[in-house]
Structure formats: C-alpha cells, structure tokens
Symmetry: C2
Amino acid sequence: MQKVFVTGAAGFIGSSLVDRLLADGVTVTGWDNFTTGQESFLSGALKSPSFKLIRGDNLDRVALTKAMAGADFVFHLAANADIKDGWEHPARDLEQNTIATSNVLEAMRANGVRRIAFSSTGSTYGEATLIPTPEDAPFPIQTSLYAASKVAGETLISSYAEGNQIDEAYIFRFVSILGERYTHGHVYDFYQQLIEHPDRLRILGDGKQRKSYLYIQDCVDAVLHVTRNHTAREAKHHTQIYNLGTPEYVEVNDSISFICSSLGLTPTLEYTGGERGWIGDNPFIFLDTKKIQATGWRPKLTIEEGIKQTLRWLEANHWVYEARSKGHQ
Amino acid sequence: MQKVFVTGAAGFIGSSLVDRLLADGVTVTGWDNFTTGQESFLSGALKSPSFKLIRGDNLDRVALTKAMAGADFVFHLAANADIKDGWEHPARDLEQNTIATSNVLEAMRANGVRRIAFSSTGSTYGEATLIPTPEDAPFPIQTSLYAASKVAGETLISSYAEGNQIDEAYIFRFVSILGERYTHGHVYDFYQQLIEHPDRLRILGDGKQRKSYLYIQDCVDAVLHVTRNHTAREAKHHTQIYNLGTPEYVEVNDSISFICSSLGLTPTLEYTGGERGWIGDNPFIFLDTKKIQATGWRPKLTIEEGIKQTLRWLEANHWVYEARSKGHQ
C-alpha cells in the first residue's frame, strides 16, 4: 500500500483514514463530490505534499478512472448514508452506492488496481435471526434501500474478486461509527435538539432499540490492521468480510443517559413510540466480532467513552450543524 | 390477479407464463425489448383479445410506467441471463438486472401496483457451503456478475416489501429451466454442436459438475400456485423467497448420456478440464425445495424427462439457432 485512492475522502471516515495514511507515509489521492463531505476535514491533509484532492462524482466514470491512475489500493468509502429518508429519494442509494461501486470497480480494472476495501454496514443483516450476528448469518431479507444498495455493492465487489478481476477485497460491515468529525446519527441529532431546547428531547421509537457503536479511531485502526495483513490474499476466497464493532451494545435510553449526564441536562423525554424509529429501522443490531478480533485487533474505547468523545467534539464544532443545513438547502 | 404485467414476455419463461395466464382467463400486458425475446413465442398469445404486447426496455422508466398502468400484479422476468460472458459486458447485468428492477419497482409505486413475482436464481448461493441449499443458507459470497445483479434485484424488491411500498413480493430462486422454447444453456449448446459435428462433443470443465434442472411447465405451475395462494400476505415478512427446482440433480456427464442416447449418437467427448466450466461456474448446484413442496406443489417431470422433452423441441425448432445467431450479430 504505497499509493492509495480514497473515495469519500472528505467524509467523516474518509478524512480520518486519509490523515492516518499520511501520518504513516503513504501517498494519497482523495476523491469526493462534496455532497456531504467537508473540505475543512481535509485542512490538515491539504498541507501534506503526499496528498492530492480531486473533486468528482463516482457517477462520472471517465473522470473517476483518470483520477485513480497510478493507485495500488482503493478505499471505497463514498456513499449515501442517509438510511432514514430512502423512500423520499429512491434513486439515491442505487446511484450513489450501487452504480457508484460498479464504476469504482471498472475504474480499478481499467487502471490495473487489484486491491479494495469497502465500507459496508451491519444493516445488511436486516432483522437478524442470529444475535450477535456473525458474517455467515442466514441469508437475510433486506429492510431498507440503504442496506439493499450496500449488499449490491458487496456482491459486485465479491464477484470481481472471485472472478479474478482483482486480487484482494475487504468488506467491512460497520456498526454506527462515532467520534471526531461525526456529522450524522443519533448523538448528532440529540445534541442538536438539546442546543435548541435543553428542556426536552424527542426520541424516534420507544428508546429501547439496542445498537452498537464504534469509535472512529478504532475503526481506522481495524481497517488498516486487516488490509495491511493481506488476509484476503491467501484465503480460499479473495473476498474477506469482517464485522466491525465493539463487543457490546447499548439501548438508545442508555445513550441518552450518557449524553444528558455529560451535558448536565435533564430534559423531558418525548417518545414517538413503536419499537422502530423509522420504516426499516432495526430494533437490535449487535454484530459478532470474533473474526476481526482473531486478527489481533481490539477496540480501545467502550461505547460510552465513544459517545462522550463525540459529544466533546460536537460541543467544540457547532459549525457542522450550520454547514450541514446549508448543504441540504 | 386480474390484469397482469409481464416483463420479458417474449422470453422462454415469460411467453410460457403468458400462455398459461391467458388460458386461465387473465388479462395480460406483455413487455419486452426483444434483445433475446422471440415474437414467434407470442404467436398464440397475440391471437387473444386479452393480450396486449408493448415493445420497450426496462431502462426507459417513463415508457415502462405508462405501459404498466392498470395492472394489479407484475411478473418481472426480463433479465440478462448470460452468466458466462459477464466480464465481456460488465454493465449489462447492472443495467438489465439491477437498474431494471429498480425501474420496475418505481413504475409499480407510480401505478399503485402492490404485488410482484421475480425470477431470481440458485446462483445467488455462490458456492454454497450447505447442500441441498435452503433459502436461509449462510450469507453467501457472490462469484458472478449475473448472480450479484440478481441478489441486488432481490434486495431492492424486499426493501420495497418490508418498507410497505408494496404488499406482496415473491422471489423465486430457480435452478436452470428447460423445455419448450428453451434457447439458452447446456442442452441447447450440446445439441447445436451435435448438429454441426455429430462425432464429437466439447464439454466445458470436467463434466462432473452437478446441477439441477426444472421443466418449464412445472416452473409455471409452481409460480402460479404460490402467488395465487398469497403466501406473502399473512407471513411475518411480505417478501417470500422460494427455491424452485426438482428434488434431484444430475452430473453434466449424465445429461450427455441422456442426450446422446436420445439422439442415437456416440460422439467423442472432449473436456476442456477443470471443475468449473467458466469463471464463476458453480460445480454443484442443488437446492433444498422443502419450502415450496410444503405449499403442495410437486414437479411432474424428472430431470431426465425434462432434458428429453427439451431435445424433442429443439429437434422440431432448428430455427431458434438461426434466430439467435442473427440476434447476436
């Protein structure tokens, strides 16, 4: 891994990975369409002579192919990650996640790039019948367009790897990631509400949804640990799939307690009710992470520590709320 | 099921289904882009006042939406089914199978059509670790672009059904189908070779691949039996997935024996070698069909009977070879 191409480089996970790669002496080309990416997340990277930023969209295959020239590894992180509002924009997941992934793979083929890592999601297990859910859980039924599009991306990547079009494919099924540069998800939403009205908090569903979270630096550690060990090269399948999360989960209500105690607030809690926060919400996500732990990786932060770290960052970076509402206008 | 819309209506399975629906008194609109469909397969249907044929492509969403108006059920059978040559046309599976399915679902949403049946494939199990392979087999790794695109189609459909955008979704994972109007697959290829040179037969792989097959009329029976019983309406999931095949498999070598004895030929057999016929070929496909048998359906023909029925049809319809080679020019 000498010259790396990162899609979604200005995003939460992408920019964190870029910073780490540069610190490790890797040459990086970042690619982002800035739909949700933030140029300020790359302010450190842009000072490095080893970093080049190219603005572009994965749907523009010609530009993508040109931008990727010379790379020896692709981290494909660009995606629409808005799982809740899929039915308002049904083409978005198909275009930004499925077709985009096909374009990334074709650009790799055109450039002779033979290794890829892909950010998938624990949502691909739908409403899992086996919890904690292992990578080879029963073939799931998909419950959201977002997860459907991520499964489609996974299957494209594995068909390229198993069809010998590429050499190594790493698919990471993430739980929700949080920490510095986090701009999306329940901690973000709750904190936004509590800035606006510290006395009350509206919660989608009954608050009993059980979810797992992982701290961004632990996530980056895991992705680099696995890809640098070439676990896919010698395996029977050149596609290696890893669940990525902490070996614990919390209730949304626990998470609210962490947030409120950290902020010193005691808001009235208003639940919208029902065991799902939205159509396709999965009331219990807890991944079996034995496979990735067997590689020697361990998360350093607990979920509670990760949530508190996230809050500290949001408190110091209120600008992300303004930036995001502008981006959505 | 009063007014039915059939995509791929001029295809092998589509036209067989259309004929059966018309015989049952259903009003049918057939939709086909005639890439591989044959108008002659619809010569009977076109005489019926209950049948309307509309030429069009699933990638033209506006025309598709217009054509579907008034339907109460969609059989979505149109697909690129050329599994072997995926790497020569990597966009074809994505467009004709994945994006096409998204367009069919959006056309349904626009028209208020709430029920769909979809032709998926046993190839979605990749190289299954569990044989016979049940519907809830371990989450597979995909080995071909074709199967990847079918998984993507499945996941799109299930997300619409689980997200309450439609009421009933039936996904059928077919083994290879054969019988009258069969124009694609190993019996077709072997017979074509034996017309050209009856003294020798070239076999992709080592001939020991084990596969399962189902006779077209049994396939149509099964699809109508399940969809008319509304099994998806009352189930926990509005997506119901059924393996569809015979409870037996044969080696390619057995199939060659059936064909040669039926034709009275003793060709020299030339194997290309290796356990796979092509990249992504699965050397053993055998589906667990307990779930569909529990609905009361049973196949009437064995694999051997189905292969012989197919041969009789090919012998009487040499024109399909000329028609197909023209279509590919």
